[in-house]
Each structure stands twice: as structure tokens, then as C-alpha cells.
């Protein structure tokens, strides 16, 4: 970590977004992670995405659990709301907050330990509920905060810094999310912002549960030879499936796509994701095919990245539809509506007699 804060001085021609804010307005506190941590890169990508979306900082909620990854919510958009939950319990907090105010954007940042070990149950249920949030896993295959033990996402045969080999199979959050019916599943790499930033933008704008599993090398405990989540290994075994470009509602598509190679998917607010095929034929709207593709690549030690699966907007019911949550935030409802009184309670109870 460093003790030297980033000075407030900026490039004189830093462009403002629609709100008149520069990228610097979306930064947060000084990061206390190791120098070169992939998580810091993801933080920078979130900053960039929030700036590009012209999100009003006060309309963003940052949620996290425990771990290196979960510290990072302090490092971006300091004007946003934040909640640092108990280990692995971030989805519960997200559910409550979501129910109380559906007008805000929710971004949860978690790690492979927080999500796949202690919080696996919570994670599964967040998907099952189809919570309206962007769930980011900063996945480095190691428990960095406790000095480098294998995590639940460590691959078989992967070697720890001290030399021992992992013999337990990994839990792949992408396969899990595909199985559990998540409508937006992506995988990316902290070292590839060109891919990552549009994915975060799309994830924030997507209504329902959006998962981005981001390979984020632990520069201190998992960046050696024999690691399968180091910078070098990831770069060598990295295969983008599709290129996803995020196009905001206001903006016409300005990039010229060759016919037949791009396809547009509309999001709820009118913005669009343009999916561009690269290389082999890959269909990101076919859940079974996506599952098979991830599994096949995983078997050969490759990381399939990009927007792996995206469900058409009308094919899934998200949390608010299922639970009929009120459109207005709870804190804006009058007391009488929130607490209808003993007469109303008696009426309700009478229904169960």
C-alpha cells in the first residue's frame, strides 16, 4: 500500500460528462491495497464506467463484504452510499436496500472468498431472487488478506507461492450463475479495460442480476509461476468470446459494424449493448451453448471472457416485479402508508384465521 495520496491536480483538458463532472469526481479514498493489485485496476474501471454513464454519485449504492476486494468500495465514487457488510452477507444487505429503494443503482463488490466460500449460499440466492444489482467478483484464486491460502476458485494443479499444489476442484462462478438462471453473466480481466469498462456500464444499466467475474491477479500472493491467476498466465490463456460495446440511450451507434457481425440488444432504459463476434461462432444468448463453451475452455485451462450470456429483457422476472415493491423509495412514503395501524393489522390477521 501507499501513504501518498493522489494529488488533486488534473489534466487541464479532462473532458466533463453530461453532469459536468470529470473522471476525477468519481474517485474515492486512497487505496491501501498492494501496489499493482488487480483490484485497483477494477476500481479505476468502475470510476471510468460511472463517469461515462454520468451517474449521479448520490444515486449509487456500493455494497461489499469482507476481504481485499471488499475494501475497494471505499476507493471509488466517494459521494455514493456505501455499506460494508459482514463476511459473505453482502447479498442480504443488497436485498434489503433494493427493497427499500429501487431507484438507486446497486453495485456489489466481492471476492472469491466472500462469494464462493463463506457467502456461497447468499450469492446463489441473490441470483435466484434476480436482485437488481451489478455483482462484481474480484477473483484472484487466493486469500490475500490472510497471506495466500488457496481459495475456492483456485484451479486444480495451481501452485501456491510457497510451493504446495491445489488438489481440490474450483467453483466457477460463471458456470454457477448460468446454472442458477442469471440473466447477465460476464467474465473479464482487470488488465483489459477496453473489455471491462463497457461490461460494467452494461451491468449497471441492466435491470436484474448482472454478474461480472473479473480475474484480478493478486500481485503479492498469486503472481508467480505455477499460478493460474497471474498476470502472465491470464494473458496467455485469455480468449475473448465476443466484444460488447455499451451504447447509451442518447447516443446513436457511431461505430461502423460490418453486416452480420454485430447484433444489438436493448436494455430496459433504452440503452443498448452491441455484441460483436470475434473468431469462432459464439452465441451469447444461448444459455446451454454458453455453458458448454465455458466448460470446454475451462477444461483446457483457458479463460473465456466477454459478455458470456445475456438474456432477452422480457424473458425473466426480476426482484421488484416478483415482490411488487413500491416504485417510490420507502423513506418517501408517509408514515400512515408504512404503518397502516392496528385496525389494518387486525384485518390482515383476520385473513389467516
Amino acid at each position: 500500500m501507499t501513504f501518498i495520496a493522489k494529488p488533486k491536480v488534473t489534466h487541464p483538458s479532462l473532458p466533463p460528462n453530461a453532469l459536468g463532472l470529470t473522471r476525477r469526481a468519481y474517485e474515492g479514498a486512497l487505496s491501501t491495497l498492494c501496489a499493482g493489485c488487480g483490484h485497483d485496476s477494477i476500481t479505476a474501471a468502475i470510476v471510468e464506467a460511472c463517469w461515462r454513464l454520468s451517474l449521479e454519485p448520490q444515486n449509487l449504492v456500493k455494497l461489499s463484504g469482507i476481504g481485499c476486494s471488499s475494501k475497494t468500495t471505499a476507493y471509488f465514487v466517494s459521494g455514493a452510499h456505501g455499506f460494508n457488510a459482514v463476511h459473505g452477507r453482502m447479498p442480504s444487505i443488497a436485498t434489503g436496500a433494493n427493497a427499500a429503494n429501487r431507484r438507486l443503482s446497486y453495485i456489489g463488490v466481492s471476492g472469491d472468498g466472500d462469494t464462493l466460500s463463506i457467502g456461497l449460499g447468499q450469492f446463489c440466492h441473490a441470483i435466484r431472487r434476480n436482485l437488481d444489482m451489478l455483482y462484481i467478483i474480484e477473483n484472484n484464486g487466493v486469500y490475500g488478506l490472510t497471506k495466500g491460502q488457496f481459495s475456492a476458485s483456485a484451479d486444480i494443479g495451481s501452485r501456491a507461492k510457497k510451493g504446495e499444489t491445489n488438489r481440490q476442484p474450483p467453483i466457477d462462478p460463471v458456470l454457477l450463475a448460468l446454472d442458477l438462471g442469471a440473466p447477465f453473466v460476464a467474465r473479464s480481466f482487470s488488465g483489459d479495460k477496453r473489455q471491462l469498462v463497457p461490461l460494467i456500464e452494461a451491468g449497471l444499466k441492466h435491470r436484474g442480476f448482472a454478474l461480472i467475474d473479473i480475474l484480478s491477479p493478486c500481485v503479492t500472493f498469486n503472481d508467480h509461476e505455477g499460478s493460474t491467476k497471474s498476470y502472465a498466465y491470464t494473458r496467455e490463456h485469455y480468449e475473448p468470446a465476443v466484444l460488447a460495446d455499451f451504447v447509451p440511450r442518447e447516443q446513436p451507434i457511431s461505430i461502423d459494424y460490418p453486416p452480420g457481425e454485430a447484433r444489438e440488444v436493448a436494455l430496459h432504459d433504452g440503452s443498448r449493448i452491441v455484441l460483436r463476434k470475434i473468431g469462432a461462432d459464439y452465441d451469447p444468448t444461448d444459455r446451454t451453448a454458453a455453458h458448454a463453451a465455458v466448460q470446454a475452455r475451462g477444461g483446457s485451462g483457458e479463460y473465456l471472457t466477454g459478455l458470456i450470456y445475456l438474456e432477452a429483457a422480457d424473458r425473466h422476472a426480476e426482484f421488484h416485479q416478483v415482490n411488487a415493491t413500491p416504485e417510490a423509495p420507502l423513506n418517501s412514503l408517509p408514515f400512515e402508508q408504512l404503518s397502516p395501524g392496528s385496525t389494518a393489522l387486525r384485518t390482515i390477521l383476520a385473513r389467516y384465521r
Binding site: 501507499t2 501513504f3 501518498i4 493522489k6 494529488p7 488533486k8 491536480v9 488534473t10 489534466h11 487541464p12 483538458s13 479532462l14 498492494c34 501496489a35 499493482g36 493489485c37 488487480g38 485497483d40 485496476s41 476500481t43 479505476a44 482487470s190 488488465g191 479495460k193 491477479p217 500481485v219 503479492t220 503472481d223 498476470y231 502472465a232 494473458r235
Partner: protein, 665 residues
Amino acid sequence: MVDAEHTICAAYGGLETFGAGRCLNPSGLFYGILRRSGRGGLGLRARLALSLCIRRQPWNLVDATDTSHPDYYHRVVDCQWACPAHTDVPEYIRLIAQGLFTEAYLLNRQSNVFPAILGRVCDRPCEPACRRGRIESKPVAICRLKRVAADNRGDITGRLPPVPRLKNGKRIACIGAGCASLTVANDLLPLGYEVTIFEQNDRPGGLMRSNIPAFRLPEPVLDEEIGMILGMGVELRLGERIDSLRALIETGRFDAVFVGSGAPKGKELRLPGRDEAAANVHIGISWLESVAFGHVDRIGERVLIIGVGNTAMDCCRTSLRLGARTVRVIARKPRGFFKASPWELEDAEEENVEILVNRSPKAFVIDNGRLAGMRFECMEYELDAHGRIVAERVADEQFLPADDVILAIGQENAFPWIERDLGIAFDKWNVPVVDARTFQSTRPGVFFGGDAAFGPKNIIWAVEHGHQAAISIHRHCHGEPLTERLPPGLNLQSRKMGMHEWAYANDYAPIERRLMPHVSLKERFKKLNIEVELGFSAEQAAAEAQRCLNCDVQTVFSAKLCIECDACIDICPVDCLTITSNGTEVELRAHLKAPAQNLAQPLYVSAALPQTGRVMVKDEDLCVHCGLCAERCPTAAWDMQKSLLHWPHAEDEARALEQRKPKIA
């Protein structure tokens, strides 16, 4: 330049494989290949195919920047690069911040010889160049910080270069006791030379004394710094005017002659009525000289100054101190074309000098055989988009009354005392031909420097001319070719002290430029020699020193260590770093994280990075040298290293020549 053989296979156009040479000049590449293809007369389609093919070839990418050349990191230190004498500005500011004023003064003295004088009157080419001026609006007050070092320094006796008692037997004549000659003496005396300076006036200092008014440069300051050099053992011949260079050379006493006689002739304005008004029309620099030497002590109530350069500013402010009530400075062109430095204009206007623009002098108006004023044509100019004048017309005429007129429209060199048959070539402007690097004329052993060499410039230029001429004189006296001088060198030394510890103050201090305190308008006109600027207080100096960005603490990158984690790019406060795939310069600039503002600044491009073969690109223009890239780098691929420029002076030449001498056993 052909350095390898390549085979290009054009994909279409029916071209066959052929041999081609690689040309390091990208524009020359295409033609180099065509020339070497041995086919000649390629069709248009073939040429097109070939050019497409070439564009994608690896050798058309930008080469990794060669940072081993001293110029690369020298250029990053904008102030030092802009300073003709290459004063190590960041280092002396650092010394001031540490309260080491004597050390700061001595460091200054090494390169600019007159820190106290220049700390007041330098033209400060460093300040417009200062990076702080690009980050915020105002540069660091480099010049006035120099004065802080001079004002607060301790005793330096014994810390000046020692002068040997045993001389080397070489005698040098310097003509004119101005800053150029004094610098030559300063550099050569410690090497054992005997230096004689001839000066026509009865006090040394040249234009520093005669043309800069005492309210800007007090005499004691001048005397002290000139005294340091004279005290090294100059033979100073005051009141001895050289009227014939031939006579001087023919004495045979001198091994070399240095002409540092300045540009002593003010330009004349021949207009109707000039001769009749002679008693009340003055030439700016001569008039200032008369004031400086006490020959003139009053002027009329209404004064017109013609011209708007720095001499005009000195003339108008001096007039105010000699009894003038209304002083008007007349400019022929609009404000953007003024020659005077902005700060000198500011100081004059603070004293309620009126500057009238767009008035072209037409005639001196005489009434009763006496100057009554001047008639001007009121001009109108048409400017283009770049602010250049494209058309002008006379709109009106105007009479301005005046008791005295001072002409400050420029000055010239004059060499009536140099015989034209000495082997010293003169050009079509009747100015001697002087080599811009060695400062030697076409006659070996006769050197020129200061305003005498290339016309009027500022003191700091004359000082550097003096340094370079001293090197040439030394080489000349030792029979060495003048052009094979020592090249500049540059040292880099890491500032890393440990974890999160850097041996320099890398906090960005968001403070504004300190304002120089002035003597009140009421007080300052009481006497001619009341210095207007009071100098920075201790608090002001401490704050101003913190504004320096430490541009000499360089960001040094080693590509082979980089793991492309993006940490440096994410943390850089001014977005000057980018990792991208290599391409042409245009392509690289298109991919920068923030647009490059200064296209004249070349990009730093690293060697290919180990993991992806991409390159690290840095736009040095706005880097604040905060060191966060190095602080956040997990592999120390970035390091903060202090660059120390070694700009050779005569003593370095002497040492190098000494080392080359065969040792007699």
C-alpha cells in the same frame, strides 16, 4: 540508412517477392524499397498494395525512445532547458526550501555567475517554459527565488574557485567590462590565465550598470558581484577605450582577444524636425547611461517614450523619478506585439505610465525653435486568425504635446574600431561573422560574445556566450580544435529511500504564485535609487519553493520489469501514461489516455513490454513528478531518479585536456 534486408510480400497487386532495404526514416522507407526492388516502374495498384503492406510492418512502428542521450531528460526539466546557461533550477529551489541559501547561491553562480543581479533583472526565459504554468496559470517565480538565495546567503569567501598563484603564461584581452567579458574572466582566471579587461567608462559593469536603472538593480548589488570576479585578479583598465583592434593585436601581448563590447548604439528616428528638436530628443540607452553616471538629473514635465521594449520601460520609469508628471509610452502596434516582458509592462503601468497603442510617429513639432510635441498617425490593423497583421491603414492623425522625447526603438552593434582588413569577416549588416558554437570570428584567436556577437539579448545570454567563449579560448590557447568540445552529460540517481520513502518532496502543493511586495507608490519616487521590489519574505519564499514540481526527479521506466498491471496508469493524476499497441506516431497520439496538449513535445515510447508486446507511452508535457507511478509500481519498473545535467565549462575542458596529456614518467 540501410540496416537490414527484409523481404516484403505484397498480398495483392500481383507483386512478386523482392528484396528491400530498411530505411530508418519512415518517409524514406517506401522509396528505399522501390529503389532497391530493381524493378522500377511499379503500377499504381502495386504501389498502393505496397504502401498498405509497409504500414503494417513492424519497422514502421515508433522506435523506443533513446533516453541515454542527455537531451532527453534535460528537456523534461523545462526551465533548465529554456535557460541559455542551463541553471539547475529545481535543485537550487530545493536548496532554498531547505534553507541552504549559500549553497543555492553557489549552485546558481556556477552557471549564471550573477545570481543577485539576475535574480532582479533576468529576462527569465525559464518562467514561460515552467511546467507549473501549464498545470495552473502561473509559473514558479524562479527568478525571484534566485534573489532569495542571494539576499539570504552567508559568507562565500573561500568557496569561490581558487585562482592559482602560478600563472599558465597565457594572456587574454577582453574589450568591455560587461557581463560577457566578466564571465570569460570568471572562467579563465581559476585556470591560471591572466585576463585584462579594457573599459571605456570609469566603472565596470557595462550595460548592467549604464542601462538598468538603480531602482531595479541597486548599485551595491552590482558592485558586489562584479567585485567577486575582479577580486580573482583581473587587470582592469578603466577609462581605456580601444579605438583600434589592430593596435591591440599588434602589441603581441595577448594570446586571444574577446570582444564583449555590447550593442552600444541606440537606433535613431529620422523624422522632420529631429535636428531642430535635438536638445529635447534623447536616445534611450545613451540617456539611461547619462542618468546612471549622474550627467542627467532632470527631465521635462511631459515626456513621450517612443517604443515599447524593456528599454522603453526603464526610460519611462526613470523619467518619473526625474520630475516628469505625465509619461506616455507610444507603441506603433497593438498590445500583442509589445517587445517588453509582461512583468516590466506591469511594473510600469503600476506607476501610472500610460501606454498608447497604434500610433506611428510622423514628425517632431517645433514651436519657437523648441520641441512642442510630436505628430502621430493613428493606425488601424487587420489581424488574421493567428493574430498576424495582414493589412494596415492610417485612420487619423494626432498631436501629443511633450517637453522631452526619448527614443527607445532598439539598439545596434557598432564596430568602427575594428579594421576591416584584419581577417575578421563582416556580413551584409556590417556585423562580424561569429560561429554560433565557438564564438570565434573568422580570425582565429578573436572571439565575440554578449550583444557584440549576435545583437541585443539579455544578460543571461551574454553569460552563456562568455562560458562558451572561455572554453574556445582555452582550447585555442592549447592548440586544440575548437569544435571538439566536451559534450554535455547527464547522471541519473534513484530517489528511492525505502518503502514509500522518496528523497524529495513529492507532495503537490496547491498554492498560487506569491506576489512580490513593492515599495509604496508614494515612497518610491523620492529618490532615484530606491529599489522598488522588496524581495520575498521568508514565508513567501518557503511557499513559492513548494510550487516547484521537481521536474528533475525523472520518471525512469524499464520495460523488461513491467507486468502491465495498469497501476501507474490508474494512479497518474494528470493521465500522462498509456499502454497501447505500438503504431505510427499519429496512432499512438490517438490512443493517449488524455490528449497531448503540446504537439511539439515528443512522446516517450518504451521498448515492447514482455507480456503483450505493447508499449508504455508517456506524454512528458504535464507530468507533475509526484512519483505515484513509481510508488504504485509492484516491480519497480518505474523509478524516480534525479537527473543531474553536466554542462561543461572551461574548468571541465581543462580537466579533460589535463587527463589526456601523456604522463611523463
